[in-house]
Every structure is written in C-alpha cells, then in structure tokens.
C-alpha cells in the first residue's frame, strides 16, 4: 500500500496571501528515500508539514484536496497518534531542542519517554544513537549550551532514537561540518537499509545524488517533477526550478559543451571517475604527458 497520497492538494497559511502549496498530486511508496529540492519558499517545508499532519492540526490555514496517510484521510488521524508513527526532524535545530532537559542524554531520551518506552530500552536506544553520531562527549552537557552544529546533531539523534518507520527530515546538515554531514547521511543510509521510508529536504545536491532513490522538485508551491534520482538530477526541469546540478553532472555538461562529451551523464563522483577514465583511455596520447 502506498504510504502517502496527495491528490490536488493546496494549502494557504492563515496569514499568507498566496498558496504555499498549489495543486500537488504525489504518491510516496514505502521503503524509499525521497529527496525534496527547490528554492527557499518553494513549498518544501510546507509539504513536509502536510505529510506530517502539522498542517492542518497545528499550523492553521486553508487545506484543499485529499491527503491520505497509510490509507487513512489526514483529517481522521489523531495528531498525537500521527506524531508517534512519523518522525520529524525540524529545519531549524534551535526550535527543536525542548529547553526542559538538563542534559543531552535526557534530551535525546525525551521522545522515547513520551512514547512510554521502558527505561532499559530507552537507555539502550539512546546509547546506540549517541555512538552512531559520535556524541559521547556531549551527553552530560546542557542542550542550551551547545553550538549550532551540536544542537543539530542532538535534534537529529532524538528523532532517530524514536525509531519510527517513516521519518521526515528537513535540512539535517545545514549547520554541520562536511565530516558530520557525511555521518548524518551515513545514518540515513542505514535507516534506508533497515526498510524505513524517508522524506529528506536538503540543499546539498551532491549528497542527494549519492543517497536518494527518487527526487521531488518543487517550484512556487507546485511539484514540477518527481522521478528516479538519475533522471531528475540531469533534467532541464531541475535547473528551471533554480536547483543546481550535482558538481560532476555540471562537469559532464561543460565537457559536452567543449566538444568532449562523456558516454553518459554521471550524478555521483564514483560514476564520473569511471566515465572520465574511459575517456582518458580512449585518447591515451593526449594524456601521456601527465
């Protein structure tokens, strides 16, 4: 069964003068990682909020069309129940930290506490996620004293610990150094391998190319394209929506423009390495000086 289905969905915030989502129809299948890309204010976070039920249960406004989550109409869901079955990592880590817990360990455990998980399992799950994210040095610190990047990791950890089958992650690495970003994506990859369904909003297109199964491209509140990452990331629609191509894809386009096309257009560095190597081997004399 499809996990989420949206049919002709529109949403206008109570304070907004134009729709944040406009005639969106979309199907999310379970077990896949969907990347969502588009300009700021193109509707990415609003889409996440609808799927997560924060709209219309918390953010008010006018919702039109039909939203079904696990086959059940969004309006029939109890918000509390929905929040247990869908994990949600907020875009701004500064808003997610609860402010009521004295240590990072307790902060990460907070969601589990609310779910009524027993103490032993709670400690076990928090310890595991702390190890996966390399947060050992932080667990005794006060969450309010953390740096932006540290907060972002803690916010991410607290959702991962809840172990929902369906997780929505809105820009998890915006404050993180490159190493930590890769660690977060490594965890996302593991979640995927364990069969979780994931919707991920992320500007780092090179990482998206590496990890996403399918990509949703948004522009001005509409979904302008949805399809396999390989097709979307080399499409004209992507750049028309103001989203950059992966770096190696751009390189392939530049090579083609210079009359030196590769056999196909890569989206990841590993693919680019093979394709460029092949090209170099075809013209061995040209590179013999190197």
């Amino acid at each position: 069964m499809e996990l989420v289905s949206l049919r002709n969905v529109g949403f206008t915030y109570a304070y907004g003068d134009k729709p944040a989502l406009n005639d969106v129809s979309l199907t999310i299948e379970p077990g896949l990682l969907y990347g969502v890309v588009g300009l700021n204010a193109s509707g990415k976070s609003t889409l996440c909020s609808v799927v997560r039920g924060i709209i219309p249960h918390f953010h008010h406004g006018e919702l039109t069309g039909e939203v079904k989550i696990k086959g059940r109409d969004l309006l029939e869901w109890d918000p509390a129940e929905l929040s247990k079955s869908i994990g949600y990592v907020f875009q701004n880590p500064f808003t997610q930290i609860s402010g009521v817990k004295d240590t990072v360990f307790e902060e990460i455990a907070l969601g589990l506490e609310n779910l009524g998980v027993d103490r032993e399992e709670m400690i076990d799950r928090v310890t595991t996620v702390v190890r996966e994210l390399g947060l050992e040095a932080l667990i005794r610190k006060n969450p309010n004293e953390l740096s932006g990047g540290q907060r972002q990791k803690v916010a991410f950890a607290s959702i991962i610990a809840m172990d929902a089958d369906f997780i929505i992650i809105d820009e998890p690495t915006s404050q993180l150094d490159p190493d930590a970003s890769e660690a977060v994506f490594g965890i996302i990859r593991k979640l995927k391998e364990r069969g979780k369904s994931i919707i991920l909003v992320e500007h780092k297109i090179d990482l998206m190319a590496e990890y996403a199964d399918r990509i949703i491209v948004m522009k001005a509140g509409r979904v302008v394209m949805e399809g396999p990452a390989r097709e979307v990331l080399v499409s004209d629609e992507l750049s028309q929506a103001g989203v950059p191509y992966p770096e190696v894809t751009e390189l392939a386009f530049a090579l083609a423009n210079a009359g030196k096309p590769l056999r196909s257009v890569p989206i990841t560095r590993a693919e680019a390495r093979e394709l460029v190597s092949a090209r170099i081997k075809e013209a061995p004399h040209a590179h013999s000086a190197l």
């Binding site: 300009l39 700021n40 500007h203 103001g242 210079a258 030196k260 460029v276």
Partner: protein, 264 residues
C-alpha cells in the same frame, strides 16, 4: 588599519580553552573564509574580533585599538557580527523596525537612516519583506534580515557566521553579489562556513582551524591541496577537484573550467 589577533586565547569560566593562542591579521577590505570542524573555535575567534568576547590572554586590536580598552558596543560599530542563528539577533516585530534599530539607537537623522536602511534592504534582497514580522519568514530569508541589520551600520569589517546554511542557489547568488559590493566599498568580509564549494568559488584566503588553533592560513590552492590539513580540520574537497585528484589529472585544480581543460 587591520584587525590583529596576537596569541589570543579565550577560556570559559571553568578554565577550559575555547581558542588557544591564535595569531591572525585581517587587512582592510580583505575577504577571508574560516573553516574547520564544529567546535574547533571558529565562532569564539570571530566573537573576539568584534569585542563580544575579550581575550583571556594575548591581545586583539581593531584599527590599532585593543578590544579590552573599548566597550563591545564601540568595537561592534567597526566590526559587525551576523549571528549564526538569526533568532539570537532579531527581536523587531517587523523587518523595517529591525533595520532601523541601530539608527534609532545612534540617533541618526531621518535622511541618513532612510538611505542606509534602503541600501541594506536592497543589498540583502529583503525590500519586499519590510512590513513582515521576521518570525513569519523562512530561515534563509530571516538570515538576510540579520545581515541587513548589520549592513545598516557603517562597519569596516563584516563577519558572517554560516551565511550559506539553508541557502538555495538564488540566495547564494545574492550573497555573492552582496559580498562583491562590500569589497568594492572596501569593507572586509570574514565568513565562517562549512560550504567548501562556496569557499573555493568566493574566497582567495582560507584559515583552517582544528582543536582551538589555526592549523593553516593561505590560498585556496594551498589549503585544499594539503591532505593533512583537510583531515585534521575535518574538511572535504569539493567534488570536482577531488575527482581531478583521484584521476591523477591535477592536485591543485579547484574550478570546473580548469578541470574541463585538463580532460582532452
């Protein structure tokens, strides 16, 4: 006159060091990127530049004056710091009020205020949001409001803490245009960033920090050419330069066009 940090250290009240003996000179109108792991001491270092934090040992001078001899408000008039989290900085109930806060505080006349606020709003692309409550704006636009509020002032140095976080391509172009204009006006820009492509595309000088110290200070080619620095500061090369290196094409080429030229 430059900003000069000489053996500047900063320690927390409990005695633990956040920044350890940093020596750094930032010249007038220069553009410099500070990179390194989360927790390496980058934000503490720049907060010492604008007087928000005073060095616990060593010295920090701005245009020849020690920050320890001035109030933070005085130093901050010359060195503007845009916070990493706009919510730490923004408190106005509309964008216009936020931008006019400093002129009101400094009792500027209406004409100067209008001119400076108009300039800052234009440079940061927020003119159409002037009547909006900053809290209703997306994170990335809120960040431009925070930058705008600093640009209203007459700073010779502007510090941007993670300016590209959550920024799309259009925002990035706007940010680059803004930095070009500041450069043309002779204003130095110091940016803390994790975005290595932004560093390579928009900066010539890079300072890498690790474990509370500066471990490299040089051109993009020098810093991104040094595997030891990259691994200690937990940095990653952008994809295309990394590809060029893996293929044995070049250890120094950083830009797409340079790599295109290397592939026959």
């Amino acid at each position: 006159m430059p900003i000069v940090l000489s053996d500047a250290s900063f320690s927390y009240p409990d005695g633990s060091l956040a920044v350890d003996s940093v020596t750094l000179r930032i010249n007038d109108g220069e553009r410099i990127a500070i990179v390194g792991q989360n927790g390496a001491g980058k934000t503490t270092t720049v907060k010492m530049m604008n007087g928000l934090l005073k060095p616990s040992s060593g010295s920090v001078t701005v245009d020849g004056l020690a920050t320890t001899d001035q109030t933070t408000a005085t130093t901050a008039r010359t060195v503007g710091y845009v916070f990493q989290n706009p919510d730490d900085q923004i408190f106005g109930s509309d964008v216009q009020g936020e931008l006019e806060y400093m002129p009101k505080y400094l009792k500027w006349d209406a004409e100067v205020t209008e001119q400076r606020v108009g300039r800052a709003a234009k440079m940061t692309g927020i003119r159409r949001f002037l009547k909006v409550n900053p809290n209703d704006l997306p994170f990335a636009i809120k960040k431009f409001v925070a930058i705008g509020a600093i640009l209203v002032g007459d700073c010779k140095y502007v510090i941007l803490d993670e300016p590209t976080a959550g920024l799309d391509d259009r925002g990035l172009k706007l940010l680059n245009r803004m930095m070009d204009q500041l450069e043309a006006e002779g204003v130095a820009v110091i940016a803390i960033t994790h975005d290595m492509r932004f560093v390579v595309d928009s900066f010539t000088r890079v300072v890498a920090m690790a474990n509370r110290k500066i471990i490299a200070d040089g051109s993009c080619e020098e810093v991104f050419g040094n595997d030891d620095v990259l691994s200690r500061a937990k940095l990653k090369r952008p994809e295309v330069p990394q590809l060029a290196r893996e293929l044995g094409l070049s250890t120094t080429a950083l830009h797409l066009n340079a790599v295109v030229a290397l592939i026959r």
